[in-house]
Symmetry: C2
Subunit: 433 residues, 2 copies
Amino acid sequence: MKKYEIVYEKIKADILNGYLHKDEKIPSIRQSCNLFHMSQTTIEKAYDKLVLDGYIKSLPQIGYIVKFTREQIRLHREIEKVQNEEKEDVYTYDFRIKSVSKDSFEMDTWKRYLKEVMNNKESMSMYGMAQGEPELRQVLSRYAYKNRGILSHPDQMLVGSNYQSLLFILCGMMDKNLIVGMEEDAPLQTKRVFEAYGFKIIFLSRFNFMEDLKNNSIDILYITPACFGNHKEPISSRIADELLVYSASQNILIVEDDYNGELTYRSSSRQALHSLSIDDNVIYLGSFSRLLIPSFRISYMILNEKYTNIYKAQEAMYGPTASKIEQLAFVRYIQNGYLDKHLRKLKKEYKEKSEYMEYLLKKYTKIPFYLNEAYMSYFNEDLCVKDLKLKCEEKNIGITYSNKGIEIGFANISMKDMEQGIVQLIEIIEGVQ
Amino acid sequence: MKKYEIVYEKIKADILNGYLHKDEKIPSIRQSCNLFHMSQTTIEKAYDKLVLDGYIKSLPQIGYIVKFTREQIRLHREIEKVQNEEKEDVYTYDFRIKSVSKDSFEMDTWKRYLKEVMNNKESMSMYGMAQGEPELRQVLSRYAYKNRGILSHPDQMLVGSNYQSLLFILCGMMDKNLIVGMEEDAPLQTKRVFEAYGFKIIFLSRFNFMEDLKNNSIDILYITPACFGNHKEPISSRIADELLVYSASQNILIVEDDYNGELTYRSSSRQALHSLSIDDNVIYLGSFSRLLIPSFRISYMILNEKYTNIYKAQEAMYGPTASKIEQLAFVRYIQNGYLDKHLRKLKKEYKEKSEYMEYLLKKYTKIPFYLNEAYMSYFNEDLCVKDLKLKCEEKNIGITYSNKGIEIGFANISMKDMEQGIVQLIEIIEGVQ
């Protein structure tokens, strides 16, 4: 420690420990010279740093006084305290819909690819493209074609860390004061973006969607085709066609959030709306956090011609969001067939689990539950939530609550634990009815 | 391959190979039964899938016709082609300012931490908090205090993948139609966000900043204190104080982009504006892509009380953006002292390189260049860019061009190569003058 630092640390400590209070005068430079047996230059250097760092200030005719307030001291102490309070909950039975199956992901392969990518120092020391790494856009464009029927050029594609940041970019390219239609219980993250831009949101009834759509004049329709309408089911071909024809005729831009669109295990597989569109009026959002591991954050957006051109003109004005390491590792993961393999495994696993949960629910209760395929859960919208939540917490059972009842997810619970968990859960549910 | 798939693939291939054109009639189901020697059910299944996938459509009274257009076929082919055109450029002499020193980063340590984090399957299978992992916010809050003098609570902090996505979130919480002041050559990414929200932007002169600020009525001031004013230098204490007093008196919110604020190697170190503020009217943005490796994407934002409360109320409406693996590995990296160590190494390295480049520039040319400490470069704003760019490309020398001259970065060039690179560059520059 240098000499001036000793003085600096001593006075700083006196302030932080409350020995010197706000607005209190501290020793003059000359006094400190005597106190510390140091030169004026050294003391001045220490005082300058204390001023610079906001602990003291100099007042003309008066000298140096303490600037740090009590509130600042309190905050200082809080920062120094190590807090580990906000740890993630671990449930005995985890039926929350935000959890996913963690066993089928090829973690070792993934680690190997990350390592390979990191070995390329040249590539790691460059920012990468705002739009997403070219190799990844290339591979995703093929993936979207093969799995979702979407014909797109890599130039139309934006890669981002989650669909919300992509939506922030998309809406920022749009005119102001637009009117957006979406289902009543569209994701909150989506609502937030449209609200942030001051767009007017019209909520369309799940139970009467097409009619409601036609009764309202809107500019943009946000839709999640894998979880649609009355029964939160994949959208039917009939309605998809009707929607595409109607939106084209009314100049409505469709924002298709294809959340888990490729993950069909009970319904038959269907193509994305985008692939069936007739008027280049669909913008597609795809993501992988439910397909891979949730901690992995890569989403992509396929723009139509209009917005591709706007984006190209503004390209220099954006920065990359998704981790470059993860992007490049993901290229290898897809190219070597692991994504397809993983998707097949998940379909099999979720099919089994959903069928088993259906069987268990029917076995232990008369309360009806409906499959939400996209969210890997069974839901009931008529259950009283308040006491239920309390009771479930007591028993350390995790489920997902909404303002409309509950969802029981099966993605992250093992076949082995499922029966015992359902038995306990049903006991609680029937107890609070 | 199943029977119906043979039919499906055959007709699909005929369309994609151009043997069947748009609107052309394809064989009826009965004809295909004979053609393929298959049952009506099988052919129907194939045709249904072809319709579903958008290759053909059914017209009443006519039969099935091709729906796929030439443009779609062209796109299909492009997707199938493997393109590797957009590879990153590798220059013989890389003086671009977007490059950083790639040798001092502890890549092996980083890989080890990533691996450790990934071994925690439980944690990897959860989404994590939208606001950022609690452990990281805790650690960053201490880091910001120690290195930037900022007193903040982890609750005030948002972690994101880059500062632009954080800015998108911040502006989305603000009133509409605000007026923003920023320096003329503020980063494009910043401009884009304010423009996206329709805010009015007033550009303040670099050469007359405070006066210009006082002559305009603004709601928000965006500022990069490490690269400020006439000479792109760190902001002086005097101006910082004046700015803070004035903004507090006028109710101006300061958005402090502390780009490379802690990376001082020629100027003396200074605290962030945030730490000196008197009225809780500063929002702080910090990032690490220039401190670590650019491919690493973690930024953070420290909100004031007002916006912390707004964010808390909307918390459920945001998703996490920064990679969870990278966030948790970063916790270890900071906690074990690697960030501090790396910062010290970089300061030493950039000090040497900047001094050496200064020496070389003076040795080989009379054209004046000025140090831009925050961007690790020397700049001159009077150089003609057009021919220069062409000539540099020819010689495979990378520099950074703006509409106001050039910047020569020293971060990513070795001491060994620097002289030869500067000699060639100066030859080109003096040749096009």
